[in-house]
């Protein structure tokens, strides 16, 4: 197996992977899409919302905002030691929003979201959330949690994870484009780690079978 870096920008990574079968390359790609955990808003407590946008749409939009992820400090809710449904400071981070429009038309952007933990904040400040008319108010508390793309697309760390396969050379030219939640190289690394962990797990299971 050989990896050759082609280019690295802030959110995109291109590299050539060779010496593997398509199944392996695809496993890497699939895991990047569906199993590398990132933060996304999962629970929204809407305290006030007299905007034209319904609570469920607002919550859906908030969920789709890419959130910078600190994998070291947070646990997946199902793996967290707190075992509580609400979550604890180790498995959730809150972001709050409180705004009342004073202009005839005011757009609420991600910059208006106030993160509890500065490391868990929207990737961009310029994502519009909702338009408010004068006097309309939105007050809410949103909870971001780690999650996997398999559950919902909002937890996909990548906007594109793809490759082209050169059958003659046996090379896979990968393109990984991050949503910004994690650096692209980190996504690839995590994916590799997950494959590794899965293999170890598999080995243990097989071992268990042999003993019995």
């Amino acid at each position: 197996m050989d990896i050759k870096l082609l280019s690295k920008e802030q959110d995109t990574l291109r590299f050539v992977l060779s010496g593997v079968k398509p199944a392996f390359a695809n496993a890497l790609r699939r895991i990047m899409l569906s199993e590398v955990p990132v933060m996304a808003i999962d629970d929204v407590m809407i305290l006030e919302n007299n905007s034209v946008m319904y609570d469920e749409i607002l919550a859906h939009r908030l969920g789709l905002i890419p959130i910078t992820t600190d994998l070291e400090s947070y646990n997946l809710p199902e793996e967290c030691t707190c075992k509580s449904e609400l979550g604890c400071s180790k498995c959730r981070a809150s972001l709050s929003l409180e705004i009342e429009a004073s202009d005839p038309v005011e757009v609420v952007y991600t910059s208006h979201l106030k993160p509890e933990n500065p490391d868990v904040r929207p990737v961009s400040d310029k994502i519009p959330i909702v338009k408010l008319a004068q006097g309309q108010r939105v007050k809410l508390e949103a909870f971001a949690r780690l999650g996997k793309g398999r559950t919902h697309a909002k937890w996909q760390p990548v906007s594109a994870a793809t490759y082209s396969y050169d059958e003659k050379a046996g090379t896979f030219t990968f393109l990984v484009e991050s949503t910004g939640a994690l650096p692209p190289e980190r996504i690839v690394l995590e994916a590799a780690r997950i494959i590794g962990a899965k293999s170890v797990d598999f080995q243990e299971q097989i071992g268990g079978l042999e003993k019995s």
């Binding site: 398509p22 569906s34 034209v52 793309g149």
Partner: protein, 1115 residues
């Protein structure tokens, strides 16, 4: 060379803007309000009041219509806007006032302005308050600024008067019938005058004699008897009147023979009288005959004895045409030719309705005045004697139900608000009165004269196919002008009346008709036609007038000139061509684009004109400027404007098989989108809203005029064509689950529940409250859990089936009913409004208001989020519909090297047999547009075409074919074949699984038959039908059959007397079953039968039949 496509488009855009998308309704209604109302009043003019010999009459003067307003219960009058009418279930109507002058003898009294009733106001008509507002103001009063208007609001619901396509009135249509040995020749005329329509038929039968029929006389009347009854005595004069051609005159011989018994007017009238009042005295018969002749025969020429001469002339013309057809110097008329069709719009239909109710009002007024004045003598007030309700209620009821005069039903329909397109299309719809149960094959066909007038694609499938049509974008409906002006002008232009015309002129010249009435003869009709057209272009006569020259079709025929100025002709604009060059120049259009001239100015500048189907027969129209030759008279403006609203949505329709475009035209009206921007304050009983609607990336030019980009109803999705594990076979589609997660095709469904607290006789009334436990019909605490103190549910609460939305208690239906059972006397009963059993959602909004009767009215809006799920229906714009067969996670989806993953995967088998190549072209166009960042124009006939698109795609680095290498998302391997992939606009249709899925184990039964109820809303069973029964019989599965049809249905134990076989009854006092026939000696046995069978037995008994059941011991 020539005028660019863009310029021509701007020209036709200006035409559509000038005429507006629903202008036909608004023009027609305005004309009714401005002229029609007064005309109907003038028909009555005076109202004689017969009180002995006291010479009193009421003179009817000016009628005036006010501004839309409402009268509240307390009597206050307030002007209202449509938004309020919708929310409060009011009628958007304006008061009518009429001037009434009592005339005693010759002396006129003081005129009185009297309120005579309300007239519903058409939205955006002249009297509508909205017509004066600019877009910002429209939004401020709660309207969608793009709402077209053209409909009414009656009792809060929006009603459209659908245009009626009728055979044109007062025109002679000759036809042949080949039923017998000899063909018969038949001329039909729908002679129509204000409020009266007489169908006159003139037939040449197998015996070669001509007969006429008319309303009021049951039998055929020989032609010559009619002629003589109309005052013509001499045979030679009659023959001369019919034709100057001796060969034609000869054909009249048999007709003369049939009239030998009556060879003078008096005898002829008596002949008619015999058929009207047989056995009466001569004098009475004469009077009767004269009256029927004047009133029922060709009433459009007048209804007085003075008009008989005119009628004789017309009858002669009819006879002449029949003979000419018979002699084969004239061809039969084409009933389906659009020159012979007229559209009846809101104005003329309302006029019919108003005339009837106005006559009722005057009749009632006369009766009231005669009553009052007899009792109290002379001192009276007209205002007190008038009952405005007569007009108000009659008109409102007709619009609210669609039940028009003369038993016509379905004239109005509830405005379709599925999406913006369905609303517009509904307002431009026409209906043919022809029965949909009969084949009427020719009437359903597309006729060449429909070109540019009616959409060739947009018609429903099935029974209404070809009978329900839609206006093309380029059509315009004439409003009409007074024909008398035209007749006078023609006289001045040298048309000789029939009376004055000499033999030579009648033989060689042409006959001139104005709106079907004979105006006279002219020497050179072709020249006169040209002259009239020139006058029209110069503005000397109205642009509403159209002229058609019908030259003799065969040797020996006659030239005819038709001048049409009636209302309801469908016309279309064309560029005028002179010497092979269009009169219009780039300069004209540039000025138009800059707003320096208007469409109306262009009409005046003599560069464009509107032609009806009749005048179009005299033209030679070039499709494109490059086709122009010397003999062309006109040039098309925009060929694609021949489509209607729905037809114009389809990109590249010329690449599709025609029926696919028809399917799509029907389907686009079911797509979810933004039906109106005021949806927040609207109270439609059900509606849908698409969350993230997108303008199509491949659009068409006409979309601009109906604002499709502002009110779209679909989304652009990446579509690949691949079978993909077979989950998309039989027209299913596979959708990317991650796309759905990201919000693709999410929509909200709204339903409004209404509750009113009514007042009953005796001061009792409903009350909104949380019902107390224990009252009649109490549902149990948990159903009332979400109600607030006022009995109304709180907003944003989540509700499921049967939850109470508005708690309401009502007084008992019949006061005495419960007295004997309940010590406390009558108690209230629960009449709460609950959620439909199969629906759920969130309480969105509550409207609390007051109805017109002053009772409290509550409307609860419930919304339900609809995320696409398995079984929801979608369609592209090419008649390719399908339901979701599988939601696939993104990682399993095929992907391209760029990381593009399709949103939708359709099956390749959907294409070959349907030949929707337009979808391929759209896919390519969408792909190019998405890469270039500009919209792709897919206008029919005027697009850049598939090859040019391919070339651009090639330049962008894609395969020209639109195919791409994709990788299997599951295995990671390259797919063996490249896939065709691109961007296509898809629509979510309103058939969703959530509204349809249903199952039942146990549940309600019908009261009468005790069989399970039918339908999802009533928790019904799934019918085990005849064919299913046959199947079980075939298998011999009798136990299963018994289970389905008896045990699980309406099993009943009947008690039957073994001796006589009749049903026994149970006597409570004796505690046993008794047979009425055999009494004590009866042996009564229980029998298991179906309850429906028990019913049958009893029904037969009620008919006096004794069905006996003979019982046997079970084996």
């Amino acid at each position: 060379m020539g005028i660019s496509v863009d310029h021509l488009w701007n020209l036709s855009k200006e035409f559509i803007r000038d005429s507006g998308l629903v202008r036909q309704h608004i023009d027609s209604y305005n004309d009714f309000v401005e002229r029609g109302l007064q005309a109907i009043v003038n028909e009555v003019a005076d109202l004689p009041i017969e009180i002995g010999d006291y010479p009193l009459k009421i003179k009817l003067g000016k009628i005036e219509i006010g501004a839309p307003r409402v009268i509240e219960v307390d009597g206050t009058e307030r002007s209202i806007y449509p938004a309020e009418a919708r929310i409060r279930n009011l009628t958007y109507s304006a008061p009518l006032h009429m001037e009434m002058i009592p005339v005693i003898g010759e002396r006129e009294g003081q005129p009185e302005m009297v309120y005579i009733g309300d007239l519903p106001v058409m939205l955006k008509s002249k009297i509508c308050l909205l017509s004066r507002l600019n877009p910002e103001e429209l939004v401020a009063v709660g309207e969608d600024q793009l709402d077209p208007g053209g409909y009414f609001i009656v009792n809060g619901s929006e009603r459209v008067i659908v245009a009626l396509e009728d055979l044109s009135a007062n025109r002679i249509l000759v036809d042949t019938e080949h039923t017998g040995v000899n063909p018969t020749y038949k001329a039909k005329i729908f002679s129509t005058t204000v409020g009266f329509r007489a169908r006159i038929e003139v037939t040449m039968k197998g015996d070669r004699a001509i007969y006429a029929t008319m309303p009021g006389i049951p039998s055929d009347i020989p032609l010559m008897i009619m002629m003589r009854a109309l005052g013509l005595e001499e045979d030679s004069k009659v023959a001369e009147l019919v034709s100057v051609d001796p060969k034609v005159q000869d054909e009249l011989e048999s007709s003369f023979e049939k009239a030998l018994e009556a060879n003078n007017p008096k005898d002829a009238l008596l002949y008619l009288g015999n058929r009207l009042a047989p056995g009466q005295v001569d004098e009475y018969r004469l009077r009767k005959a004269e009256s029927v002749l004047d009133r029922n025969f060709l009433p459009h020429l007048g209804r007085t004895p003075a008009d008989r001469r005119e009628k004789a002339l017309f009858l002669a013309e009819i006879a002449a045409r029949i003979i000419e057809v018979k002699r084969e110097i004239r061809t039969v008329d084409d009933k389906d030719h659009y020159a012979n069709k007229r559209l009846k719009l809101a104005g003329s239909l309302l006029a019919e309705l108003f005339r009837i109710s106005f006559r009722n009002l005057t009749r009632d007024l006369k009766y009231q005045l005669e009553r009052i004045t007899i009792r109290r003598h002379i001192e009276f007030s007209i205002a007190n004697a008038i009952r405005p309700g007569i007009i108000t209620e009659r008109v409102q009821h007709a619009i609210a139900t669609g039940n028009w005069v003369r038993g016509r039903i379905g004239v109005t329909q509830l405005l379709d608000r599925t999406n913006f397109i369905s609303t517009l299309s509904h307002l431009r719809r026409l209906q043919s009165p022809l029965s949909r149960s009969q084949p009427n094959l020719e009437a359903r066909d597309l006729h060449p004269t429909h070109y540019g007038r009616l959409c060739p694609n947009e018609t429903p499938e099935g029974s209404n196919c070809g009978l329900v049509k839609n206006l093309a974008l380029s059509s315009s409906i004439s409003v009409g002008i007074d024909p008398h002006e035209m007749v006078d002008r023609l006289r001045r232009m040298g048309v000789t009346t029939v009376e004055e015309a000499d033999r030579r002129l009648r033989g060689a010249g042409g006959k001139v008709f104005v709106d079907g009435i004979i105006a006279g003869y002219t020497k050179d009709p072709a020249a006169l036609a040209e002259e009239l057209r020139e006058y029209r272009r110069q503005g000397k006569i109205s642009t509403e007038v159209n002229v058609a020259f019908h030259p003799s079709e065969k040797e020996g025929g006659r030239d005819e000139l038709y001048v049409n100025c009636d209302a309801g002709r469908v016309r279309r604009p064309l560029l005028i061509v002179e010497d092979g060059l269009p009169r219009i120049s780039e300069d004209h259009i540039t000025q138009l684009e800059q707003g320096r001239v208007t469409w109306q100015d262009l009409l005046r500048m003599q560069v464009v004109e509107l032609l009806d189907a009749d005048e179009e027969e005299n033209t030679l129209v070039a499709m494109y400027e490059s086709d122009l030759r010397k003999d062309h008279t006109h040039l098309e403006i925009a060929p694609y404007a021949m489509n209607g609203i729905a037809g114009s949505l389809i990109p590249f329709p010329e690449h599709n098989q025609s029926p696919r475009n028809a399917y799509e035209s029907a389907m686009s009206k079911q797509a979810l989108g933004v039906f109106s921007t005021n949806f927040f304050t609207r109270v439609d009983s059900r509606s849908h809203l698409l969350h993230y609607p997108q303008a199509p990336i491949v659009d068409t030019r006409p979309m601009e005029v109906f604002n499709y980009h502002q009110r779209p109803s679909g989304q652009n999705v990446v579509v690949a064509i691949l079978s993909f594990q077979g989950y998309n076979m039989e027209d299913a589609i596979i959708v990317n689950k991650s796309s759905v997660d990201r919000g693709l095709f999410r929509s909200t469904f709204y339903r409004i529940y209404e509750a009113e607290s009514r007042q009953y006789l005796g001061g009792l009334r409903d009350k909104f409250e949380v019902p107390e436990a224990g009252i009649r019909g109490y549902r149990g605490d948990r159903y009332y859990r979400l109600l607030e103190e006022d009995g109304i549910i709180s907003p944003e609460s989540d509700v499921t089936g049967n939850t109470v939305l508005v708690g309401r208690t009502s007084p008992p239906r019949f006061l005495e009913e419960y007295r004997e059972f309940e010590v406390r006397g009558p108690t209230k009963r629960d009449s709460s409004v609950t959620m439909r059993p199969s629906e759920q959602g969130t309480i969105d909004q509550i409207f609390i208001t007051e109805s017109i009767e002053g009772s409290k009215l509550v409307k609860v809006k419930v919304r339900d989020l609809r995320v696409p799920e398995l079984g929801d229906k979608f369609a592209s714009r090419h008649g390719q519909k399908g339901v979701i067969g599988l939601l696939v996670p993104q990682e399993d989806m095929p992907f391209t090297v760029d990381g593009v993953v399709p949103d939708v995967v359709i099956n390749p088998h959907a294409i070959p047999s349907r030949m929707t190549i337009g979808q391929f072209v759209e896919t390519l166009g969408g792909k190019v547009a998405s890469q270039v960042g500009e919209l792709m124009d897919g206008t029919s006939f005027e697009n850049i075409g598939p090859h040019a698109i391919s070339e651009i795609l090639g330049k962008l680095g894609f395969q020209k074919s639109g195919r791409e290498t994709l990788y299997n998302g599951i295995t990671g391997e390259k797919l063996a074949a490249d896939l065709f992939i691109g961007v296509v606009y898809y629509q979510k249709l309103h058939h969703m699984v959530a509204d349809k899925m249903h199952a039942r184990a146990r549940g309600q039964v019908q009261m009468l038959t005790r069989q399970p109820t039918e339908g999802r809303a009533r928790g019904g069973g799934l019918r085990f039908g005849e064919m299913e029964r046959d199947c079980l019989i075939g298998h011999g599965a009798s136990a299963l059959l018994r289970d389905r049809l008896l045990e699980e249905s309406d099993k009943y134990t009947a008690y039957v007397c073994e001796i006589c076989g009749t049903l026994a009854y149970y006597d409570i006092k004796q505690n046993k079953y008794i047979c009425r026939i055999d009494g004590e000696k009866a042996t009564i046995s229980p029998v298991s039968i179906s309850y429906a069978f028990k019913l049958l037995v009893q029904e037969l008994m009620s008919l006096g039949i004794v069905p006996r059941l003979s019982l046997e011991e079970r084996a």
